[in-house]
Subunit: 111 residues, 2 copies
Amino acid sequence: MGVTKTDLFTEEQNELASVAKVLANPARIAILHHLFRANACINSDLVQELGLAQATISQHLRELKGIGLVQGTIEGVSMSYCINASRWTEIKGLFNTLFDQYGLASKEDCC
Amino acid sequence: MGVTKTDLFTEEQNELASVAKVLANPARIAILHHLFRANACINSDLVQELGLAQATISQHLRELKGIGLVQGTIEGVSMSYCINASRWTEIKGLFNTLFDQYGLASKEDCC
DNA sequence: CTTATTCATCGTAATATTGCAATGAAGCAA
DNA sequence: TTGCTTCATTGCAATATTACGATGAATAAG
């Protein structure tokens, strides 16, 4: 198969899973790190920084744009990418909702 | 290819990515939801709750155990699963480290 | 116009993931 | 023992993902 049965789960569960899927690659995490390390927006000399081919970086950026985490604007001949702050906060909240759900009821390992 | 080039990235980036990969499936999110909704430990009538085959649930539980998020003990003929509280906190911290890194430098969208 | 640079997209090969039926191991009941 | 239940594991088919080279569009320089 290889296809996830999204129809069995809630919208929240599916959204969290699909956002996690975008984060589930070290290259994309590294791109995010570079984007907020350079507090100005960096264009794709990400290709220089990370050791991946230009096509690969471009593909990862597309996925990050796909969930709205990253934005890009044309800067003459090159592209300027940056993090979408509001979406960042939103996604942070998504994970916090998951992580804070546990710890309210039981505090001890039960098995 | 289909293989991730982990050698290009830091250990932290790789760990975060591999934890995110485990969360990147709605069935596994749903399993976690069930595990802390039943504040006692539930055995695998998860098969009843979710609409997936027993083999599929078992495989997902194995991946959750793989990153230490979930523990299981034998309860007679059945299995009792629960969340590992300390690992849970640890992983929560992993994500918070990522999410809190941004927002310190720039507050505005820059492009 | 010609050339170079920057990036996105397409096509492809290698692998990974997902979900399931079938099988097997282990415990318990009769 | 025989049968029943509960899980884990194996083996498979159908996708999905990852990374790359090649190509093409767009802009700027000469």
